[in-house]
């Protein structure tokens, strides 16, 4: 039967009302659909190996012998004419790659905000030799694993960052003569019974990614669990929160860590010798000679001894040792 007019009109009105509301519904979903929260980027830093040093078949400097990689380029008569020196003079600043977390060698003094230490004083002497004062030294904190890379890239002119002289590195950069003789040692808890690396099987040993310490530990005791971190000082945090049982790196750094945490002790056993040198650009032999000349002067005029005493006198009580002997090719 056909509904009369009023009924039809009523139905139409009702349908219209319902439709309007449905339309509102579909429209109002977009009220909230585009409400969003900003997303932050993930700040994860993946540990990387020393990218500048190829892992497979590393090229070596033919003049470098693994028996004695410390032989450097002798100071020559024309050392003042080096490209790097000219660039540095023109710029008015010596850019030096340093670490700001290695206590006693290169660390930022929280009180003054200034980076200071043994390495820094070595750089200061080089700057003095170039400019006559140390106000033209620019310290650029670099990542431990970027020490080689920043010299290769020319980001810095010189690196003083507990930098071990190695033939694999000679392939890419030059080194000055040895200015400090370190050796890799192990820092353990004060109550530890371990005598050497052989006693650390199954224990967690912390070392900085890209350093020689990692390889040395793995070679000496494959059963030790090596925990790699980005920075030496990060090892101390893991050590203090019992996340690692030992820290292995150069004794110089360990001395610094031990100074910050007296509840640890340094084991006497040492691995390989770690001769420290200043990292210098590969192509500029004259600059290497110039730096070696500066080091030679420091050894002879007692500045080296003073620096050693200033920074390491507390941790090496007694008479200041002799500086490492300069060896040339």
């Amino acid at each position: 039967m056909r509904p009369p007019c009023t009924a039809r009109r009523l139905t139409a009105l009702l349908l219209a009302g319902v439709c309007t509301l449905s339309a509102c519904t579909s429209g109002s979903n977009s009220d909230v659909d585009d409400l969003t929260l900003s997303r932050r980027v993930e700040l994860t830093v993946a540990p990387q190996v020393d990218s500048a040093v190829p892992t497979t078949a590393p090229p070596t400097d033919p003049a470098c012998t693994s028996q004695d990689p410390t032989r450097s380029i002798a100071p020559g008569p024309d050392d003042a004419n080096s490209v790097t020196l000219a660039k540095v003079r023109q710029r008015g600043k010596l850019r030096a790659g340093v670490d700001q977390d290695t206590y006693l060698f290169g660390s930022r003094n929280p009180q003054t905000g200034v980076i200071e230490g043994f390495d820094i004083d070595m750089l200061r002497s080089v700057a003095m030799a170039i400019f006559g004062d140390d106000k033209h030294l620019e310290l650029v904190p670099i990542k431990y694993k970027d020490r080689v890379q920043s010299v290769v890239d020319g980001k810095v002119d010189i690196v003083a960052d507990t930098f071990t002289i190695k033939c694999s590195r000679w392939a890419l950069i030059n080194f000055s003569t040895e200015y400090y003789s370190a050796s890799q040692k192990i820092l353990v808890r004060k109550d530890s019974t371990a005598k050497g690396v052989a006693d650390l099987s199954g224990q967690r040993v912390c070392a900085a990614t890209g350093s020689t310490s990692v390889d040395n530990i793995k070679a000496s005791n494959p059963k030790a669990v090596v925990v790699e971190v980005l920075d030496q000082t990060d090892c101390l945090i893991l050590f203090q929160s019992s996340q690692v049982d030992a820290i292995s790196t150069d004794d110089t750094i360990l001395l610094g860590l031990n100074a910050q945490d007296p509840n640890a002790k340094l084991l006497t056993q040492s691995f390989s010798p770690e001769p420290y040198g200043l990292g210098l650009p590969k192509g500029d032999a004259a600059f290497t000679g110039f730096v070696n000349k500066v080091l030679e002067e420091m050894r002879s005029d007692g500045r080296w001894k003073k620096i050693h005493h200033d920074w390491l006198g507390k941790v090496f009580p007694g008479e200041t040792p002799e500086s490492p002997r300069a060896r040339y090719r």
Partner: protein, 692 residues
Amino acid sequence: MGNGELRATDFRVAIQQHVNIERPRTVCLGSDPPGLLFESMAHTKKRKRIERRLDLGNQIEIRTLIVRTTNRICFIDLRHRRQPRQATKCLGQIGETISKVGSHRDERPCCRTGQLVDVGPGSSQPDPRGRNIGWEGRMKLANGRLHGKHPWVTTENFLHDATGNPFKQLVALRANDGLDRLDRNGVVNRGGKRIGSCRFGEVEFDVEVHLERLRPPTLFAQDPDDSHHAETADFYVVSHIPHPRARSCTLRPMATTTGGPVAAPPSWANSPGAATMAWLRSELRTTPGRLRLWSIIVLILTALTAIFGLNTLAGQRRSTAELRNDRAAMLFDAQGLHSALLQADAESANAFLAGGIEPAERRKRYEDAVAEAATRLRAVASRADDQETRVALDAIAKGLPVYAGLVESARANNRQGFPAGGAYLRAASAKLRGEIVSNVEEVEQIALARFRSRYKSLVGGASVIMLVLLGVLLALLVWLQVSLFRRTHRLLNIPLVAGSVVLVLVTMATIAALGTQRKDARAAVREGFRPALDAADARVQGFTAKANESLALVARGNDDAYRVGYANAITQATNRVTDLVAPRGSDPTLAREALAVFAGLHDGITKEADAGNYATAVRAAIADGQGTANAAFTMFDRETTQIVNVAYTRFLERMTDATGRINALRWILPIGVILAGALALAGLQLRINEYR
């Protein structure tokens, strides 16, 4: 034959059929009612009959017998009921011997079969349309066996049609159903009512015959208007064979039939579904029956609409309250927690940069930020009612003291001049970002998602279904009104009209209230929630940028990640404040300017640091006072906080309005619907009563 006597046949067949008559046809009276019936059926379109009988001899239960034509009678063998076509046996012409059907191997009749018994003068009662049908009944015991399941009683009805011509009808009454519950001598009528008992060869019974049901359709289908009333009728046509071992039996009527129509369901329909269908069919046959059905539909629809409406409105109230009190608050508390954590991160890094003994004011700001974070964390936790959020909050609550411990370690080392302080600070920051802030972000995302889904359920879905139900109910009432008008020619059914009017009012009130509520909710999101979210997010991103700036300076030389983090955060913060549509009573201009100034000063600081003037850069980064980056950021912080507060208050106000609309409607809707339904039922009842 042909003289009013039953044809002497040696088969017995029971037929009940629904005959659809396309149009009324001439009454053809004769002396052989079954024959007439079959003849009339020859013209019917559809013949169907439902019967059940047990052929013990052949173990065939015959349930359905289909009369296809007058002279073919078919059975369906139930053993093949799944393929009825194959199982149908057509038994040929009437008059053929069908000896197997209905023969019983071990029957023990107590009465002589085939005896005709007068059941007294038939009562003369009007049929539903007021015509008197005279009848007298003679009962014949077709099969007096009472110990089995299938006693049969037949009756011959001597009927007169409307024109006064007599005719005779043989009717078989089955009395089997319900017999199991009676004593073994019982005989029941079709409705299952016990009508008598047979003892020592005597049967006492009382037969109730529903005239309307016995009326041959062809006889009464004279009036075109009546055709639909007589479309279907039930028939029992039985001829019989006398049983050789039958004994004589005296049948004595117990009482004269005076009862009204037997409204009981047909005897063969003993499954519940079939019973309902049969009852429905019988109800649909009459106008009051149809009205009763419509009443039931109105009742169901009314109840459905009222319940659904009440439920929907309760859901809407819950949604509104939850949105207002919990979902939004949880999100903003989570964002406040986020900002406070990053502020703590930035302040601790700044204090570290300052070197030496940190300024007391800066230390206090750090402590305030941590306290604020703890407060917000508690606020979020009080509203966390899902597992995911609780897990995330658990991680935050566990991480926060660890973070604070690392910051204190950094501070202690710093005070001794150890570089481990810087490392501790980086570790603290990494902990904060890695575990704590990522979980806070998770909580924010969950809170926002839940806000979204709650909002959608508030403005959509259920309320539309409720309106559709209201519309259907209204349409039904209008249709009933119109169709009653057509049928009864009564202009107005006052209660029905009143019910419709009430329903129209309720529907309009509902549409109006829901519309306003929706408008309020949308305004709450547009004017309150969205700007609050934007401003809070800008704040979070601003603090992220600030913390990254300080940490980039702390981690000099190892600051790539922080620089990227800064750039990303400052871009997002700037976009947010730029896109921000400020709520009334607040001005985002200052926030925008402050952030721009801060970003500019930051670029200067970065440039200084890149140029090697680290000390200058640090001094600029930690300096307080007019024109410094810190001052600009403090202003940004203050302005965005202000906007968040204003917008959030606005959101709360508008949501309160929205709740008010629903509250008003909450009782109006169900009461109105029930009132309308009751009025409609009353209106229908008026019409039903007219048939009594």
